[in-house]
């Protein structure tokens, strides 16, 4: 091996290691802090002489962990299946059927693709108040379905545009109606597209912070991210408990990611580059 080749390899490994360190160090710092003596203020990164594993048990009850997870799960179940189903139907129609005013409808949906949630939060608050939904999980679920819809339709339409038109023709020749064609041919072929979309929507709902912060006061009716925000507000000064609680709250998404990391990354890339 040449000297410059070796130098390149050393630089490459060095830079990659530095970036990896950058990615994990904040989490490591949280972890060692979470094990320090309760109520103390440890150094940023230092292994405690006697790790207080009990801090996690204290944080479990302080963060009202069970209620938070139940609530987050309910919100995800309310948002993801409904949004994916509606987006799949709309995406299919806009790509494969001749929808009257289809171009205009799709154009209007595209506007929502770049719309920041903050731009809508003010009117949403007053609308949901007049519907009497403030403080309920529906106040998070219903707007979230609408807010995620443009991306879902965009994603599914891109998938259905790529399917072979001959398939539809063949089904028509066989006398299948629109629903049968969709159900028997297109939907099974779209499995990877809609399951990837479900993963992305799961993360978007699970990690949603702004809607719960504004629309639901009770942390136990919020998403995990919303509950974490409230937990920080309550225990912001007790850094040990805050770190323990935060780690507990992010652990499930971390574990799910590590188990499914292959599918995760694939999901992300599939539609992103259409």
């Amino acid at each position: 091996m040449t000297a410059s080749g070796l130098a390149h390899r050393v630089t490459r490994t060095g830079i990659l290691l530095a970036l990896m360190l950058f990615a994990v160090v904040p989490l490591l710092s949280m972890f060692t802090t979470a094990l320090a003596a309760p109520g103390s203020t440890p150094q940023g990164l230092s292994w405690p002489s006697d790790p207080h594993w009990h801090n996690f048990v204290d944080a479990w009850s302080a963060a009202n962990f069970v209620a938070l997870f139940r609530s987050s799960t309910l919100i995800v179940l309310g948002v993801v299946p409904a949004t994916v189903a509606m987006a799949t139907g709309a995406g299919y129609a806009l790509a494969q059927l001749n929808v009257p005013f289809g171009k205009a409808i799709y154009g209007l949906l595209l506007v929502g693709l770049t719309l920041p949630f903050e731009a809508l939060i003010t009117p949403l608050y007053y609308d949901l108040r007049s519907m009497g939904l403030l403080g309920t999980r529906l106040a998070i679920v219903l707007p979230l379905i609408g807010l995620l819809m443009p991306f879902g339709v965009f994603w599914m339409r891109a998938h259905f545009l790529g399917t072979e038109p001959a398939l539809t023709e063949a089904a028509k020749v066989d006398g299948a109606n629109t629903w049968q064609t969709f159900r028997r041919i297109h939907l099974p072929l779209a499995t990877s597209a809609w399951s990837a979309l479900s993963v992305l929507f799961f993360l978007a709902s699970w990690n949603q912070y702004l809607l719960p912060l504004v629309l639901v006061d009770d942390p136990t009716k919020r998403t995990v991210a919303g509950g974490l925000g409230a937990f920080q507000g309550q225990y912001g000064t007790d850094i040990v408990l805050l770190c323990a609680g935060s780690l507990l709250i992010i652990l499930p998404s971390l574990v799910i990611f590590l188990i499914f990391q292959r599918n995760f990354v694939k999901a992300l890339m599939q539609g992103a580059v259409k």
Partner: protein, 301 residues
């Protein structure tokens, strides 16, 4: 097979026939979108021309709320800060992501390359709230950043970073780098995987070094991935909320104030609903105006 049993000459309906029943397929999606996105957006536009505290009667305010965006320092500053964050959310992660992705591509597939990919991506999966909390601790007086500075004898540079008038905004920006780096790396890495290996061989036969190879083959081949990365991260920067709200709430002063946090504060803490709405519509239009040319660029051949 069903067709075979049908009488010949029975017209097979054209696939592209305009059918009103197709609207039914689109209706549920469009209805929820209309009620919870389009309608509130129009309401925002309407509110922006009124003075309203959210409870009492609204009084027409003409263009006052709109003029204030450009004349009130704290509103204008929030917009400027959002553009500063683009450097951290977009420029740095895309740049570093390109470096990381082309390095990982050179590695043999194995434990190290997988670990690098997975670790870099972890911050993207966590809620932004967690990112805010982790980094608030990193930047605090006893946090890791100051601990490292003290360890290498740079005690005089230690400070509470998020409370510092000069460094608060860059400090918040670094959180953005942390979150976005993995997303950009993984997306760009996937793009590199799709580049024809023959192009790399040709470059090597022409005697191109690693750097020439990067500019001649890798970069042009990543056009679409670069557009997606840039679009996604610019929206995240201009519309940032979670990280800033958790880490600084816009302070100290208005040093880290961004439009998202300002809208939240104007509506829910100060009850200036009209002003918040004007800023909200302004932000939405601003994002569109910035994203539009980038998308055009991506579609050109």
């Amino acid at each position: 097979m069903i067709a075979a049993s049908r009488p010949r000459g029975d017209a097979v309906p054209s696939v592209r026939r305009r059918s009103w029943s197709a609207l039914l397929w689109v209706a549920p999606a469009f209805a929820t979108y209309g009620v919870f996105v389009l309608f509130p957006m129009l309401q925002s536009v309407q509110y922006s021309f009124y003075d309203w505290d959210g409870i009492g009667p609204a009084t027409p305010a003409g263009l006052d709320n709109w003029k204030a965006i450009f004349t009130q320092p704290e509103l204008l500053q929030s917009v400027v800060n959002a553009f500063v964050l683009v450097i951290f959310y977009t420029v740095l992660p895309v740049g570093l992501g390109l470096v990381a992705a082309s390095f990982i591509r050179e590695l043999k597939p194995g434990a190290f390359s997988t670990t690098a990919r997975v670790l870099l991506f972890v911050p993207q999966v966590l809620p932004l709230v967690a990112a805010g909390i982790a980094w608030t601790w990193m930047y605090s007086s006893d946090g890791l950043v100051n601990q490292v500075l003290r360890a290498v004898g740079l005690d005089r540079y230690t400070r509470a970073w998020l409370g510092d008038f000069t460094f608060a905004l860059p400090a918040v920006g670094v959180i953005g780098v942390w979150v976005m780096l993995g997303f950009c790396t993984v997306l760009l890495l996937a793009g590199i995987g799709k580049i024809d290996p023959a192009l790399y061989e040709a470059a090597r036969l022409d005697g191109a070094g690693t750097v020439r190879e990067f500019f001649a083959v890798t970069l042009p081949g990543l056009r679409r991935e670069l557009v997606v990365c840039t679009t996604f991260t610019i929206i995240a920067a201009l519309a940032s909320f979670d990280v800033v709200q958790i880490a600084t709430q816009g302070g100290p002063g208005y040093q880290t104030m961004v439009p998202g946090v300002q809208i939240y504060r104007l509506t829910f803490l100060q009850q200036h609903v009209g002003q918040a709405s004007a800023l909200a519509v302004f932000l939405a239009v601003l994002v569109l105006l910035v994203i539009w040319p980038i998308q055009r660029l991506g579609r050109q051949r």
